[in-house]
Symmetry: C2
């Protein structure tokens, strides 16, 4: 991951993938490109840009290959694509993707429901993907990120234990993942749980494998959870501009942590994000104003920065 | 303050005062009473019920005396009224109020703008109120709470320093306050600032004077700030059901911390609130469904509790 000298944390925008995935309205390809380029210009240098899933399942990503090519044209951008399986991985790499994220559920019930496989079978598929990657010529290989999904609870089975999370983290590492993400996919976690589990995850993976956290703000704890993870050593966080990805039928039951609110939270505490907050707030309006059917969330976009607020990051 | 044996923190509902104060629609007196009684039944045993201000300034509180009499009929309720000055104090006590909160700005600019007095003059008025209280027969005396307002920043002057907050806290103590509240009136604080200032405030007031925190969620940090204050020892928190008190012209730029979200945050961390979360979520619908013009906020009321969630507090 790209940790520039002028930032203490790296915030990764996942709206073009996790936000748009839950959006019925198709965002035109040119608008996606404009969003990605503009957010890089705000100082957000990591973006999850699309998903390589069959277009008949999620039409939003029919332009995935074109988006990858565009992202590769922006030198300072580290872009990631989501791939659900080996076929998606091969398509992504063929399109030029250099970093792929693969979700694997810590919840057995969610794994069965989502990919109709046990967790062990999903790990075996993941290992096969890593092997396929290693078999490629070096210049074609991607960085492979294993994402432990539903790590703090699951809407199907409810409780997910620490042992479940460590089991999946170890499985992902043993399979040969380059990096790890741990995700509160459904917004169940509390800061106490975050600190306990991330402390164990960090001990499990050691200092050499990059680790990121992916939180949802479903029950209002997204920002508090991110700050709790920061407290125990996490430095990479996913978020979406305007909290894109909330359920359109439950306004306020939002999806991903709101990028501009999270960036403000860190900057207000003197933790440098490298992000220009004023530009990011303005971008929120530019990106979403013309999109019908997109529900956005968050506080900073409405309230603005405090009077006299000085970000650590020069605009 | 009332710290029952079955709770680790005390959450004080301030919606009938701080929420309704910012609401143009008059809530009928019977509906206010029903709200107060129902929230006590949910396990919320402290409520700020009204304000003793001239009805021509804030018509919402024309029924303040009747609300005080009603609150006094509920044995387990510790009710508080806000009073802006000596006249308001005398009216409150005459109506039977037993606990009064008096806001005093840490920001000189806000003090001048809000009450047209310097901070020193406001402290002198506060001292006169304490003296008037002490001059009364014992059974007529109220508990007097000094509330340090705009303690983390101000929309007029911007920065408010730690020295400003300690100056006002000491002034309030020297004047003879029974209890202290420190308030982020405009939602400017960050968790780092919260920890720094509350640590100093706690050192200033010592262990014998009860201390509460009053946060707004204007920039999405309300819950994180409350948890930060808890970390350094604060155990009493203000909040409003449904986040009542947000600005109706900026949806999402919410006001007070959302009671049900804050209660969930604590319960999810094993910190006992004594509150029945399911009953509180249901109450949110009962209280606000019939009120036109009331904008509510918060996540838990829309998302519900996590599957399998076990509160520390038995329903």
């Amino acid at each position: 991951m790209n940790t520039s000298l002028n930032r203490d944390v790296v915030l990764c925008e996942v709206g073009p993938r996790d936000g748009l995935q839950n959006t019925k309205t198709f965002m035109p390809t040119e608008q996606k490109k404009a969003w990605i380029a503009a957010e890089v210009a705000c100082g957000v240098h990591e973006i999850e840009i699309c998903s390589f899933v069959p277009a008949k399942l999620i039409p939003q990503f029919v332009d995935a290959a074109e988006i990858v090519a565009f992202a590769n044209s922006i030198p300072e951008l580290v872009s990631t694509v989501l791939v659900p399986n080996l076929r998606g991985f091969e398509n992504a790499v063929a399109a030029g993707a250099r970093r792929v994220a693969v979700p694997l559920s810590a919840s057995e019930a969610h794994s069965q429901s989502n990919v109709r496989k046990s967790r062990e079978a999903a790990l075996a598929d993941f290992a096969a993907m890593v092997d396929a990657n290693r078999a490629k010529p070096e210049h074609e290989r991607a960085t492979i990120v294993g994402a432990v999904a539903t790590a703090f609870g699951c809407t199907i089975q409810g409780l997910v234990t620490e042992a479940d999370v460590i089991f999946m983290t170890e499985g992902i590492l043993n399979a040969g993942a380059d990096e790890v993400i741990v995700a509160d996919t459904v917004g169940y976690a509390s800061p106490a749980q975050i600190k306990a589990i991330f402390t164990k995850v960090i001990r499990t993976i050691g200092p050499d494998v990059p680790l990121a956290a992916h939180f949802h703000d479903t029950r209002g704890l997204g920002i508090a959870n991110a700050l709790a993870a920061y407290d125990v050593g996490v430095r990479h966080f996913d978020a979406t501009l305007g909290g894109l990805g909330g359920c359109p039928y439950a306004p306020g039951a939002s999806g991903n942590v709101v990028m501009e609110d999270l960036a403000f939270a860190f900057e207000a505490m003197g933790v440098r994000t490298g992000i220009d907050l004023d530009a990011l707030i303005a971008l929120r309006r530019t990106v979403f104003n013309d999109m019908a059917g997109l529900e956005t969330y968050g506080h900073l976009g409405l309230a603005g920065l405090p009077k006299g607020f000085e970000a650590t990051t020069a605009a």
